[in-house]
Symmetry: C2
Subunit: 217 residues, 2 copies
């Protein structure tokens, strides 16, 4: 077995640790890096070295941020009375790219997944409960950091993924909120056929939901 | 559109420039990096920053190396009289991982591809011709850096890919070597059905070659 230069080997082995990247892809990527301009590589290296120290979690919603509070939580134009609970920042980005949602978020950074030993305490769930508690029992003149008064909390949208773990997580959160007796509207994302779908290839559960959730036409 | 922290955004945009990585994958990888230990990220950053300055091309075969001459060219146990001409170091690695080839290599770092404006002068072809010239007309006691005497060159294996550009490159090199009248055996990789293949799904050209190259049994 030929020895790659140690630097190249090190980069390749590191890339191999990333999800979805195998040995051959890692090598191909490492070799591709060699062709990029030196200055770009140095900048990338600096960004990687500073990544963890420069990236914080928003103290309200746990989105990634450079400041104490993220730019969604400080945005005056957004409806701070609706919180969408998502599993990951990637899910948050999916909603944001669509520009279809004007409330705020709470990022769990995971989902309840007993098979992988991830329980309610391993995700940002107690923080959600605490946040809801503060927002539904606000002392007079509670302020968010943008300086806007919070007029209570109206709705929690459980926006976890429509798969087994996502459903379990949504169900768990719903039960917790019920037990704690918060006066809140709790909703779940709508199910049905995705736009552009082909009925022939749709799965049984999706078809079932599309019948159950049929609309007047 | 939400703004990711600038560091995270920078890393994501950089990853997006790599082959086969789109925006969503780049985001997913960048977020994954956040979960890795700080020390690993720093080491990776250092390797990236030093990548270009620490990686050289072997001055014989243009394989990646840390030293002047790569460890294949300096390996006494290898047959220095056979050179396999490959398009990339990835192809070299494929042969090496198999452990099926004991000669040395010449890496072209590309292939002749007129549609993408890559001509014979854009790959390490003149270097190959020059290397062959030196090896076939050796002054007395020519030495490679390992200190071993070269007993001339016997064979050039054109090991470019079996696709259009790879074939064109092999053909071009063959013609050049013919014109320059080197006394050399020139061979091309064998064609036929890949092991484990299914005849039903084999393409026409492969089937044709498998008939032409049939062996006694």
């Amino acid at each position: 077995m030929v020895n790659l230069p140690s630097n190249l080997k090190q980069i390749s082995l590191f890339l191999e640790r990333l999800p979805g990247i195998g040995e051959k892809t890692a090598n191909r990527l490492a070799f591709y890096l060699l062709r990029l301009p030196e200055v770009d590589l140095k900048e990338f290296a600096k960004a990687i070295a500073d990544l963890k120290s420069k990236t914080k979690l928003c103290r309200h919603c746990y989105n990634f941020t450079e400041t104490e509070v993220c730019n969604i939580c400080t945005d005056d134009r957004r409806d701070q009375s609706i919180i969408a609970v998502v599993e990951s920042v990637l899910d948050l980005l999916a909603f944001e790219q669509g520009g279809i949602y004007n409330g705020v978020y709470h990022v769990l950074h995971g989902r309840i997944d007993p098979l992988n030993n991830i329980g309610p305490d391993d995700i940002y769930l107690t923080q959600l409960i605490e946040r809801i508690r503060e927002l539904t029992n606000p002392p007079n003149f509670t302020k968010v950091s943008a300086g806007k008064r919070i007029n209570g909390l109206k709705e929690i949208i459980l926006a976890t993924n429509p798969d087994m773990e996502g459903e379990a997580t949504a169900m768990y959160i719903k039960n917790q909120l019920k037990i704690l007796n918060f006066r809140l509207k709790i909703t779940r994302l709508g199910y049905g056929l995705p736009i552009g779908a082909n009925l022939e290839y749709a799965d049984y559960m999706t078809l079932k939901k599309s019948i159950e959730n049929r609309n007047g036409y």
